[in-house]
């Protein structure tokens, strides 16, 4: 997914207003938004005073995004959502306050800001690690993410800035059915792997305590490479 596609949807966004250093306005806008936020929540809530999956679909629709879009995940993170596919009242309300938005249009206007925020390396790292735990919550009691779901998550999470190694990583996972899911440690360590190891994998050092699945991946890639070299020769 390229960034241009995300941004193209928002070409008609209203201009971002600079924050006025005016206490009154602030207080006013706060009070206004509290009420509006609650009202917004009520639009999507269900009988149990929660926004469930159905509600989220509607919410996304109104926002002009798909539920599996990157920005939605970022929103969930900003909202501190506990479970995937659900926003509680508290999460929604304090979340909206946190991003200082009280309406669909306002939320939409915050998208570029959020995307920029998550580009910061440290922030992205926290977001990235959080995503794993968040994704696990789909099935309670599950400890490890299945490979299939992990690939989907990686696709979403890296949609803004895809590490070049990603397709080869996916190919490796898909070709090895014996891999029984992705443990948290492997997920976590994949990010520094993309940052530190070169695309040709030449600076990979097995003795550097990488998870063993990454060892297997590098070995697999190097075998492939040798085969290709032999064939070319």
């Amino acid at each position: 997914m390229s960034t241009s596609r995300i941004f193209s949807q928002y070409s008609k966004l209203p201009p971002i207003r600079k924050p006025h250093n005016n206490n009154d306005t602030k207080r006013l806008s706060l009070e206004c938004s509290e009420g509006q936020v609650t009202a917004l929540f009520d639009l999507y809530k269900n009988d149990e005073d929660c926004i469930d999956e159905e509600g989220i679909v509607k919410f996304c629709n109104d926002l002009g995004v798909k539920p599996d879009d990157f920005i939605v995940l970022v929103l969930a993170w900003k909202f501190n959502a506990e479970l995937m596919g659900r926003f509680t009242r508290t999460e929604f309300v304090s979340g909206c306050k946190a991003i200082q938005a009280h309406s669909i249009k306002w939320i939409q206007s915050k998208f570029p800001l959020l995307l920029a925020e998550v580009q910061n390396r440290q922030t992205f790292k926290e977001f990235y690690r959080w995503s794993y735990k968040f994704c696990l919550t789909v099935e309670p009691g599950q400890r490890t993410l299945s490979t299939e779901v992990a690939i989907q998550m990686w696709t979403i999470v890296f949609s803004q800035r895809e590490p070049p190694i990603l397709p080869r990583w996916f190919r490796f996972l898909e070709r090895h059915e014996s891999i029984r899911g992705i443990p948290k440690d492997t997920w976590d360590m994949f990010l520094p792997f993309t940052e530190q190891v070169r695309l040709d994998l030449t600076n990979y050092d097995e003795s550097e305590a990488w998870p063993s699945l990454l060892d297997d991946f590098v070995e697999y890639e190097s075998d492939l490479h040798n085969q290709n070299v032999q064939m070319q020769e």
Binding site: T144, P183, K184, E208, A209, D215
Partner: protein
Amino acid sequence: MSMNKGKKETNKMRIRAFPMTMDQKYVDNIWALLKNAIQEIQKKNNSGLSFEELYRNAYTMVLHKHGEKLYTGLREVVTDHLVNKIREDVVESLNNNFLQTLNSAWNDHQTSMVMIRDILMYMDRVYVQQNTVDNVYNLGLMIFRDQVTRYPNIRDHLQQTLLDMVARERKGEVVDRGAVKNACQMLMVLGIESRTVYEEDFERPFLDQSGEFYRRESQKFLEENSASVYINKVEARINEEAERARHYLDNSTEDPIVKVLEDELISKHMKTIVEMENSGVVHMLKHNKTEDLACMYKLFIRVPQGLKTMCDCISAYLREEGKALVQDEGSKNAITYIQSLLDLKDRFDHFLHQSFSEDRQFKQMVSGDFEFFINLNQKSPEYLSLFVDDKLKKGVKGMSEQEIENVLDKCMVLFRFLQEKDVFERYYKQHLAKRLLLNKSVSDDSEKNMISKLKTECGCQFTSKLEGMFKDMTVSTITMDEFKGHLQTSGTNLHGVDLFVRVLTTGFWPTQSATPKCNIPTAPRMAFEAFRRFYLAKHSGRQLSLQPQLGSADLNATFFGTKKDDVDASGASSAPKGGPRKHIIQVSTFQMCVLMLFNNRDKWTYEEMKSETDIPEKDLMRAVQSLALGKMTQRILVKEPKTKEIESDHTLVVNDQFTSKLFRVKIQTVAAKGESEPERKETRSKVDEDRKHEIEAAIVRIMKARKKLQHNILIAEVTEQLKVRFLPSPVVIKKRIEGLIEREYLARTPEDRKIYTYVA
């Protein structure tokens, strides 16, 4: 002396100074006297001279400050004599008696110089000291050296003569050793405070020539193409040269000349000798040439890398032999396998002792090699256990207790080489259990002895369970006594079954994967139930389960048929002679179940047996095979058709023709060749399971103590801790670490993913 008229003389004493001046003529006279004396001495005409007079004259000269004249004069006289007389003589004798002439000239010179020195001793002590010139004797030496010995003609000829003589002696001729010795001594002395003269004029060219000579010798020796001959010749030559140096060269030459030989004869050809076809080290090892090896060892130890060259060659050979032994599939059973390894070790221990004086480098090499190839075969631990099992069983033929002890000690040596000691332990437990339960141990003492050996090697962890096994045996005996008492008092009837039960504590004994099923026939089953009631009454809360794969039974058997020999020639059998034959048959539990079927029915198919007894296929097959397909004296059952395989529809009947010389017949079960492949796989997977736990336990233990540790260091520590049992690979350890991270025992530190912390 004039008198002083008119003056009175004072009483003072005045010491009149010695007349300081001596007129020139007087001095010249003294010198002439001395010069003459010196010349007489040089002509060996000293008998008419007065030592005292000459000494006094010399003294006088020096006292009056004419030491220089004396010294110079001395030098002239000596030089003159040596140049004009002595040297001439020597030069003349160049081709005729040269050494003798030179030698006697030297001796004469020494003698005369001593005398001259004695006369001029005052000059030595005073003039020489004050003017730091050479003393009289040394002066004489120097003049002799420069004017005679080092006179070009003489010098060269001397060198040539000496070298010639050495060369001739090396060829085997007899030469005048005394002459050479004298010459060498002369050269040594002429060096005054050093050995430079000897070195330059003789030793260096001598060493060069020797180097040349031995270079050629080595080629000659090599042409003989026999390492043994070569090294013996080298040894002889070294001894010869050393002795030569000691006897008639100078002692100090011994080391350098030996070094030349070592260089030319050994260092330069080490590898060639060691690797020589059909005579080198390998040949010597193959043909047990301990003396040759010892000789080679003593030679090669002299040169750097000598022993290493030998070691490398021996190691390669040993590894080849060892590899061949362990990789020889098919023909070996466990006993011969281990025995051949023990024999190989004995062979090399013998070499170590006889040829290599227990050299540490060689010992380490042998150990390293054994460790290398014994672990090439994964079955080594199992086979070693079977071998020990064989020695601890009853009926070990022809070995005294001491011999068995020795063999077991040697087995421990092999044990130390095993990398997978935990596999050995597992098999040892299994085999020990069998021995105890089937009552096959030679003695409790030898068992306990072996266990203490293992304890010394492996620690208590291993042996504690084994000791538990012994305890169970003792307790069972007591329990049985109590049971017997109980039977009497309660009057319980066991239906003619004489029962003996051993109760095994589950944790101590090796477990099967699952207790095999088995339908026990009524009588024994009831008897066992009686015991079970008795036991559980005593120990409520426990569970007893019968283990049919262990255990044995003695059956009373009656055979009604004729003996085979009684069938007469026509083939028809005559009336049974001698009545039915009774025997007691000793069988396993499974076999008992099979045989007791024939109390109900005469004929059974294999399939029927299977469904009636419910015994697992593998065990039933083995049981029936031993009963129906063994030797004639073991054949209790007869199978139709008489093939070697047992199929489901084959029928079995009792062999009424059965005979045996023994009343009590023991039916052997098919011999334990070690495990079958599936059994082995199962054992191995159990071992792997255990190892996973042991690795994790080690990781947790280490991390708990260290709190924070780097990845590589952790791997190293875990390997170190576990290596007495097995060698874990870093990959496996890493996977265990990941498992522990997953279960939140460990975590990576945020700053550095290569460092782990312990999560309390």
